[in-house]
Symmetry: C2
Subunit: 209 residues, 2 copies
C-alpha cells in the first residue's frame, strides 16, 4: 500500500492520523500541492480529480476520498476500531463525520480557497478553473464560528465527539479545528469543552502524524 | 424505526430508494419543508440541524445524514448488499458516493439554494441565516455540467457506476441527476452512457420510492 500525501493539506492528515491510531505504517509519496504537482499529467493519471490523499493498493487499485480510504484501512486492521463497535455506534460516527465534513470542513475550505492568493482560479479542487467568490469566503468564516460553537456544545461532558471512545469523527473534527486555526479562526475563549477536547486529542501520539 | 421524510427533497429520497432496494418498509413522518416545518420547535428537538432525513430507532436514538442512515439499514438487512461484497468494493462504493456528494450534490444544491425564491436567507441548510450568492449559483451550474460529463465517462461500458452491481453510489448519483433536471440541467444529448444508465435505474421499482 502506498499513500499519495501532502504534509500541509488537511485531508491527507486525516488519513495519516487514522493510520497512526491503528499502528499502520504507510509508505507515502509526497505531492507538492503548492507548486501544482497535482495538475501535472503524471499525477492526473493517478487521480484525475487532482487531489490527495490517494491510497494505492498492491493490486494497483487506487482509492481516493478520506472516508473510503479510512473504511478500507479499518477493514484491514479492525482494532482498535475507529468507526464504532455496534451498528448504532457506527451510524453515530458516520453521522458526526458527515456533519463535520459539511458544516466544518466545507466552511473552512470555502473561507480558505476563496481568498488564498495561490488559488486564484482554483477556488474548487481539481483542474477546472473557478474564480474565487469573496462573499463565499465570508460566509465560510461565519459558518466556521457557528460550527466551533456546535462542536463545543456537542462535546459538553462527553470525552469525545460521540461519547467515551475516540473515533474517525474526532479525527475529522480535530483536523478541521486545526485547519480553521491556520486562518486565524481559533477556538473561542468561552468554548471550554472544545478546548479541553482539543488539548486531549493534541496529546495523542497520532496528532503529529 | 421511523423516518422523518419529505417527498420533494433529494436527500430523504436517497434513503427511501435504499430501503426499497432492501425490501424494507419504513414508517414515515412527512415534514413540510416548503412551509418551514423543519424550523419549528417540535422538529428542532428531533434534529437541531433542521434537515431531513432523520431515522428514529425504537430505542429513541436519532440518526441523521444519509450515509449514516443507509449504513445502519445495510447492517440491519445486509442482503442485497448496496455497499459492496469485499473491502475493495466497499471502498470504491464509498469513494464514488463521496465524489457524487461533493462534485454533484453540492453543485446542484449551490445552484438551487442560491437562487430559489423561498430560500432567500436560507442559502445554507439550517436555522442560521445566510444570504444567497448569485455567483455561487452560477459556479454550481458550471460544476453540474462538468459532473454530468464525468458521470458519463465513468459509466462508459460499465453497467453501474462502480461496475456490474447496483450500489449506494448509483442511488446517490441517480438522485443528483434528477435534482439537476429540476433546475433544467438535463443529461446532455451526447451523454449516451449516462442516459442508458439513467433509463435503467429509472426502471427499477425503487425509483418511485
Amino acid at each position: 500500500m502506498k499513500l499519495y500525501d501532502c504534509k500541509t493539506a488537511p485531508s491527507p492528515r486525516r488519513v495519516r492520523i487514522f493510520a497512526a491510531e491503528k499502528g499502520l505504517e504507510l509508505q507515502t509519496v509526497a505531492i507538492d500541492l503548492a507548486s501544482g504537482e497535482q495538475f501535472k499529467s503524471e499525477f492526473r493519471q493517478i487521480n484525475p480529480d487532482c487531489v490527495v490523499p490517494v491510497l494505492e493498493l498492491d493490486d494497483g487499485t487506487r482509492i481516493t476520498e478520506v472516508i473510503a480510504i479510512c473504511q478500507y484501512l479499518e477493514e484491514q486492521r479492525p482494532e482498535p476500531t475507529l468507526f464504532g463497535r455496534t451498528a448504532i455506534e457506527r451510524a453515530v460516527t458516520l453521522m458526526w463525520n458527515a456533519k463535520v465534513e459539511q458544516q466544518g470542513f466545507m466552511a473552512v475550505a470555502d473561507a480558505f480557497r476563496n481568498t488564498a492568493k495561490g488559488l486564484k482560479n482554483h477556488a474548487v479542487p481539481g483542474i477546472d478553473q473557478h474564480a474565487q467568490i469573496p462573499e463565499l469566503a465570508e460566509r465560510g468564516r461565519k459558518r466556521v464560528e457557528i460550527f466551533l460553537d456546535k462542536l463545543n456544545q456537542q462535546l459538553g461532558d462527553r470525552k469525545f465527539l460521540t461519547g467515551e471512545f475516540f473515533t474517525f469523527a474526532d479525527i475529522s473534527a480535530f483536523v478541521v479545528v486545526d485547519f480553521a486555526a491556520r486562518l486565524k479562526m481559533n477556538i473561542p475563549d468561552n468554548a471550554a469543552d472544545l478546548q479541553r477536547w482539543h488539548d486531549e486529542v493534541s496529546s495523542r501520539p497520532s496528532a503529529s502524524a
